[in-house]
Point group: C2
Chain length 312, copies 2
């Protein structure tokens, strides 16, 4: 089997790795993204990184290069519409720009879909016909495999799992809507509402920190492990928010398995009973026995996912 | 092209029709369902109905028989788990029972999916690769076509569009959950909350009827056409509920087109501006230009959809 190269295009770092089709990393390298230098400069960085991770391997032993990128993009045309945190990126035909420089097939996909494909082909979703990956980080991203295919939809824009509405009102989401799942359950939003809540709970060990406006999910999990009741209550509420979004996804997709990943899953053991309770009480009976698992790919999720775009 | 036979299995009526692959009905017939006589009796009714609509046509000119049924069922195995309003229906292997009697291939599917396939193959969804049909009747049913395939999921249980959560609290849905889209936007729920609302609005022409507990969607639409302000406000709210569910579906599936059908769509012209406003203000930009259309199949939607199960 040929090897794969994955490139994770972020606003801060640009990471590349060469791996086998099982996701075992053979060589990897990263650089700071030239975020203000424009698309041509970043494309040149990507070409150089790919050259580096290729090492002594011949081009004929490489299947291609997958590029995972945040932000709105067209995976069919290989065009990045806008890239958050990258200056001057508007309608960039990245695939065409890179194929010339790299001399290998290039596939472009959004990072949530890429991570889902990585878990499906090489991780927690192996062997499933219907699988969902949810990444709970700063935002909520992910991807959906239905009937053995990545759900893309028109313009490849589907699978925006973070932007299903779970409430008719509430804080404004990063997308501009109110009521999105992400606006309640993502890491940054968990931190926001937990900080607000703990500001009126002097009995919590996190009270002073909350007043100073600095409680993170990690702080909440640490306090909860110590038995801090207000922190435990925040964990319960976060688990319930996560579970409620999953219930809607279950009813729509009836997956065999859902994998959860991202920074918030540092508290998986604490969150899990609450997530499961919501599924057991709010999902309809035929959906309750879904497997809930944790994503396999941690620090290399970005590059493994990007490489898996070549397998979709 | 061979002809198709569709059978719509309802708790009250059993309808069958023979049609061409364009959904043009050549012969149809219906009888009252023997709802209390058990599965064998209903299967015998179906066999007799199929014989009737077959007329003088030879079996070799018929592709098969599609059966659309409400309630939980396994389309892969052809088993009805439970049929609402049909006595003694538990785990009925309906496909096997019918194939013996009919002597033609039989396909079983849920009525929401069937209606979606009917619209996709022979109606408002023709030519789409990504299409959603939503039927707003007593409940909310429907079906999802993604990447040119009906979304089924594990056990064929996916596509339960009415049971995405749009609120964390509210009235209990027919499924037992709270917060389902159906519990706000379906016809029976529209009638429920509108009746409650109008009970405190003596300025409405519907006030006395609301006090008597009998306002229907048709009443509300009729009053709204006359300019009744409280009725217009109910229409606005119903349109917003419909739109909010659609926003979640847009973000997940990115369909080219959504078709709306069912009894509530009798008020389509009144509801449409509100539905569109929600999409234009709450959906993310790449999703806003989705086509919203109305289902083509009215009174024959059940049998046409059932026949379309043969084409999926």
């Amino acid at each position: 089997m040929k090897q794969l190269i994955g490139v994770d295009l972020g606003g801060t770092s640009l990471r590349a790795a060469r791996m086998d089709t099982g996701g075992h990393i053979l060589q990897h390298h990263s650089v700071a993204t030239a975020a203000t230098a424009g698309p041509e400069a970043v494309a040149a960085q990507i070409v150089a990184l790919v050259e580096q991770v290729m090492g002594d391997i011949s081009r004929s032993d490489i299947q291609g290069v997958g590029i995972g990128s945040p932000g709105p993009l067209d995976p069919f045309e290989g065009v990045v519409f806008r890239a958050p945190n990258l200056k001057g990126w508007v309608d960039v035909p990245l695939r065409a720009m890179l194929e010339k420089g790299i001399g290998l097939p290039v596939v472009l996909g959004n990072d949530g879909n890429a991570a889902a494909l990585g878990e499906w082909h090489m991780g927690s979703g192996k062997g499933c016909r219907d699988f969902i990956y949810i990444g709970l980080g700063t935002g909520i991203g992910g991807g959906i495999i239905t009937n053995g295919q990545l759900l893309l939809g028109r313009k490849g824009a589907g699978g925006e799992v973070g932007h299903i509405q779970i409430e008719g009102s509430g804080p404004v989401c990063a997308c501009g809507q109110v009521g999105c799942w992400e606006a309640f359950a993502s890491g940054i939003n968990f931190a926001r509402w937990a900080t607000e809540t703990l500001q009126s709970q002097p009995e919590s060990a996190l009270y002073a920190q909350a007043i100073a406006g600095k409680v993170t999910p990690a702080d909440i999990f640490a306090a909860a492990v110590q038995g801090d009741a207000p922190a435990l209550d925040c964990v319960r509420r976060e688990g319930e928010y996560i579970g409620r979004g999953l219930v809607s996804l279950l009813h729509l997709f009836s997956p065999e398995r859902i994998a959860l990943g991202g920074g918030v899953m540092a508290g998986a053991a604490l969150l899990e009973p609450h997530v499961r309770r919501v599924i057991e009480t709010q999902a309809m009976e035929p959906f309750r026995d879904v497997e809930i698992v944790y994503a396999h790919h941690g620090e290399h999720a970005g590059v493994i996912g990007a490489a898996a775009l070549l397998l979709s």
